[in-house]
Symmetry: C2
Subunit: 283 residues, 2 copies
């Protein structure tokens, strides 16, 4: 997905948030903003938003000398999500169609995104599983692809969300080889290997780092090993907007699973902010 002009104010907002998270005082926060303002005119708008966000977050890490500003948030998200695990499993068990419910749970977990949402929004969202429905739901296509898939790459998104991903992975792993892709270095609150392990995903899938510190899946920044898994997979399940922004419209065998959090993405998929989405890249 290209970068919309509407993304630019949001980049500044995110930069300021990340600066605060990194412990920058007001003077340093202003320095961050001024530096991001100097970067913006150089951004080519045909780049994807994660490419731009990558540059901005590297800048913030350098200016604040803090390589992992969201560490505390990530720990808290993981803890809260792990506490919800028995409740989520019960939801799946009680439902008529366990795959469909697990898909919904994994997608609702995508609300855990401190690049865009605050803690209150996350809490309210997680408590309303029954009230939320998919706005776009390519379920038949998903089931058909799943039926024949032997190797699946599941692209994780945020820490905490990993626990919600586990619920879906538990439904689909029997008889299949699942890889769970995580970021290779800290970026916002995105999940790393340690988060996936802590969520218990290692029992059902092989956890694999993508080797990159981008808030998405920019293949040219990923490791060769990760790319091999990516191109060798029969089916890719991609969580979150960052992965969608990186990988959409490229013809890969991807199913995108996310909650729509901003207007540019809503425009791109002809959907609405707040929609839960299961989209097939290929028709």
């Amino acid at each position: 997905m290209k970068t919309y002009l509407d993304c630019i104010p949001c980049f500044l907002k995110q930069a300021l948030e990340a600066g605060k998270m990194a412990g920058a005082d007001e003077k340093l926060q202003k320095e961050i903003i001024d530096n991001v303002c100097a970067l913006i005119p150089q951004f080519p708008l045909n780049s994807t938003p994660p490419e731009m966000a990558l540059k901005i977050h590297r800048l913030i890490k350098r200016l604040t000398s803090n390589n992992d500003p969201y560490l505390k948030i990530k720990r808290e998200s993981q803890k809260k999500a792990l506490a919800m695990y028995p409740y989520l499993k019960e939801k799946v068990k009680k439902g008529k169609d366990s795959l469909s419910i697990a898909l919904k749970i994994a997608t609702i977990g995508n609300i855990i995104d401190f690049a865009i949402n605050d803690a209150e929004t996350v809490g309210n969202g997680l408590e309303s599983i029954d009230q939320q429905e998919f706005g776009i739901f390519a379920y038949e296509k998903f089931k058909a692809a799943l039926h024949t898939a032997k190797k699946i790459l599941y692209l994780g998104d945020n820490a905490g969300e990993t626990v919600f991903d586990r619920v879906l992975i538990e439904e689909i792993f029997p008889g299949r080889k699942i890889y769970y892709g995580v970021r290779g270095a800290p970026i916002i609150n995105d999940a790393l290997e340690e988060d996936a392990k802590e969520a218990g995903i290692g029992n059902y899938a092989e956890i694999i780092s993508n080797g990159s510190d981008a808030p998405g899946t920019l293949l040219n920044f990923c490791s060769g090993e990760f790319r091999n898994v990516f191109f060798d997979a029969d089916m890719i399940i991609s969580k979150g907007q960052g992965n969608f922004e990186s990988l959409s419209n490229k013809g890969y065998p991807v199913f995108f699973l996310f909650k729509v959090k901003c207007l540019p993405v809503a425009k791109q998929i002809h959907g609405k902010i707040g929609h839960l989405v299961l989209m097939a890249e290929r028709n």
Copy 2:
């Protein structure tokens, strides 16, 4: 009020919106963003937000050769608000305390602010008068000041909102000289003389231009005639965040009447976004 760092992403968002309103194509919108990004490092944070917004909007007017990007929106707001007038008057008539209801109506009218809110938000807000309550309501102080005031300056904010202001002015004008201050030149959707006249305010108050194109009341940019009225008034009723940001903490005999629309203002008054506010500047 000083400018918070959180205001800066919002300036960019407003600049983009104003550019679109002015009919700028995507290339020119990007040029606007790049130019605003070049301005930001020069902004002194001890300036008020309207001082910064003034510079940004002058830039947009120059780059787009459009001196009044919000003209159409203003016309529509006025039309819609005028259609609501009989309903608003009926609300006041039916209420137990007509002054209190008129204050609430005038404050709710402040939701008409296309610098921050979209049309849907405005529509929903106006339809829920009965559900909204003041978060801060210095009513006794207001009544005491009103009791002795002979000359009142009422600072208008947005087009359309003028009709809601009229409802309050009709309650307070008997036995007093009221001046209704408007901006001296187009700025966002702020009310000009023609808007105040169209709202029928001229029947109860003397409409006076402040001589400035700032989205607030920056006294150093106002005309001498306006400043004389300002300093000669026994009581000033100030509508909207822009006027609040310009005039707060300066010791003038002002009552601020607005709806809290952003986090910096919420922080400043120890309130919450969405609150209706009637605040006395002087204790």
